[in-house]
Symmetry: C2
Subunit: 404 residues, 2 copies
């Protein structure tokens, strides 16, 4: 009776319920395609998003867990507001101020479950009637995220100073997504003139905003990074986005964004009823990691490590002679190489794979056709590779591309 | 020169760059409203979403962290596919099969950063041209999530069997969001007849789907829960959603959903380039928590604990005599009480607050006007409260509502 199979009628008894016959419509369910699995005989993967796993501060992390996870702090079991732990936001205010010149208060910071999650939140704040201007080539997940959310996408070319402003001029309602520190994937760093030009562009209409993805500003090897757009902005035009994916580990799904006060108002209206989407314990751990100074020490260590690897990588690549040109700034944990060849990009990728090496063609990052000057350009990440592996990878590539 | 302030012209020298003047447009930045802070002199908070913090398996969790977090397993630092860790998905397949009759394969499971995050993914899969039918009253965050994503919302009344089917009949393209185990917030359990009726409704048109949020099926005290809609469905019409928020802790931002194969195809198309949005380490910890049988032991323990608290709560409430009626099933970690009074709901909430008690009025969960029979109905959560606190809370309520 509890489950509804029979009915009890007072003073009469129990009756069988009148239940519909369940119709099995015998749909042939179309199978979802399986995501491609790792290629088994891959020897070297020049993945641009991997980090050095051996250099992870395991011991520090274990201690942080121990000190953050305890019976007497019930806050580790509770939700927080949608914006995330106040403590972590407080640490970010001072850390981002000293490292990136960012000016903000705790209440402007929103902790997100990774860059894509933060971009989705930005999309909800701006509304999908706002077209999104993207650098082309572009950080692909940003492109796909805004596309999913239903925005009109405006692919904008990049010159040697970063995104071009001219093609944007007609749009009075637009959000421009840029990676000024180290354009992904071309590696261009936006000079001060273009930064001001871009900010002035935004200042000229109420509906113009800039989304500044400062994704790997931590890893710059030759000189101090330029101040962020957010630090120059005086008019609440820049939404600043950062992540711990490359600076700590890609498995820690945590990003942060800084909202101008005007957009914070919209955010609060949309999200005041929600909770944070990021593990509270990991927020606490990272708060402490920053507060203790361990994050800065870790970054300094990793910067040195990646710088050495990068130099070693470029030295190894010299066996290619004039056949290869290294493109972009001295930053991040991947190189961009331009290969002189008469074969197609696809052929070169296949040749590499046949020799057990995976490289990442730049065409994957273009919206539409590849501009001819970037044909046969490849991203080669070295974050996860040891010097020996870099050597092996370069030898295999030389075998694949030159010796054949 | 690196930063773009000066230019070098070969054989001529250095020139100052032509940089725009930065325009400060002196916008008065409107302040975002601050989220309401906790009321300081609150003695008892009958929050419906809190859990018993003292009963959390701290020791087990510490051991799980130790065994999952180690230098030799680099996978704890890497991203996984958007669907989440294969190991956790594997454990969920068998756990959900035995506990909820759910039939699925690993590849149909998607791990999400909480129920709202999963619902957002579902929204992207279905597209926001699909209207969403919601139970009214409704789980508010679900309502807000679908509203944010731009769906047309169809609020559907609930009778004593759950959501009514009749008002849905004209819609051939609709996703019906339901909580059949224990309707939130009314506590109605959907009997088998209505379940079949709802499934048959979905079977009659290609564009009809059911989103089954099985949110606290774990905590049912009188009898075994009815099988999930997903377990009866033979036609790939049900998207099943669950969460660890109440069963483990709200701070663990982790949910899961099971996609019918047809929708899995769409999901893969949309998300194959993305990574999981949930901490990989916590996914590993929960995988092991389930695999070791600790999750089931924890659930059994919590079920007993909440059942006792609930019985105690109802006993204490008897001092109200006929003034109070307890509504809904014997499930979950909150009660629904209907209070006979001539005052308004708002007045009763204020009276409670003045006496240091927070209760949650059902009007907050209605889309539009409250149906008259639910006036002066309140949610009283007891998850986080000890028996003494429940006693104190009831006494304070009695003082606020009866003695005055």
């Amino acid at each position: 009776m509890d489950e509804g199979y029979i009915l009890s009628v007072p003073k009469k008894g129990y009756y069988v319920s009148n239940i519909d016959v369940y119709h099995n419509i015998n749909i042939v369910q179309h199978e979802g395609t399986l995501l491609t699995e790792h290629i088994n005989d891959l020897k070297i993967d020049f993945s641009p998003s991997d980090i050095d796993h051996k250099a992870f501060p395991y011991k520090t992390w274990r201690n942080l867990f121990k000190s953050c996870f305890n019976e007497f702090d019930h806050s580790i079991l509770k939700r927080t507001t949608a914006q995330g732990n106040m403590g972590l936001r407080r640490e970010l205010v001072s850390f981002l101020h000293s490292s990136r010149g960012v000016n903000c208060e705790e209440r402007q910071i929103v902790i997100g479950a990774g860059t894509e999650s933060s971009l989705r939140t930005i999309s909800l704040i701006l509304g999908n009637k706002t077209p999104i201007a993207l650098e082309n080539p572009v950080y692909r997940k940003a492109y796909r995220t805004f596309e999913h959310m239903g925005h009109e996408i405006l692919p904008i070319p990049i010159d040697n100073k970063g995104i071009e402003i001219e093609p944007l001029k007609d749009h009075s309602n637009v959000a421009v997504y840029v990676t000024p520190s180290h354009q992904f994937p071309l590696g261009v760093s936006m000079p001060i003139g273009r930064r001001i030009e871009l900010l002035n562009f935004a200042n000229k209409a109420d509906g113009r905003f800039i989304i500044e993805d400062d994704y790997d500003s931590e890893f710059r090897y030759i000189r101090k990074p330029l101040p962020s757009l957010q630090s120059i902005d005086q008019n609440g035009k820049v939404i600043y986005v950062g992540t711990f994916s490359t600076s700590i580990a890609p498995s820690i799904r945590m990003s942060y964004m800084i909202l101008p006060l005007m957009l914070l108002k919209v955010y609060n209206k949309l999200f005041s009823e929600f909770g944070s989407e990021v593990s509270i314990l990991e927020q606490k751990i990272i708060e402490k990691f920053i507060a203790e100074g361990s994050y800065e020490r870790h970054l300094n260590r990793m910067r040195k490590l990646y710088k050495d690897k990068r130099a070693h990588f470029i030295k190894e690549l010299s066996i290619f002679g004039d056949r290869i040109k290294v493109v972009g700034e001295s930053a991040g944990n991947h190189l961009l190489i331009n290969l002189i060849t008469e074969n197609s990009e696809r052929q070169m990728c296949s040749a590499a794979i046949e020799n057990g090496v995976k490289v990442y063609p730049i065409s994957d990052y273009f919206i539409g056709e590849v501009i001819s000057k970037y044909e046969n350009t490849f991203l080669l990440g070295f974050g996860a590779l040891s010097k020996n592996e870099i050597e092996e990878g370069v030898k295999l590539l030389y075998k694949a591309w030159v010796l054949k």
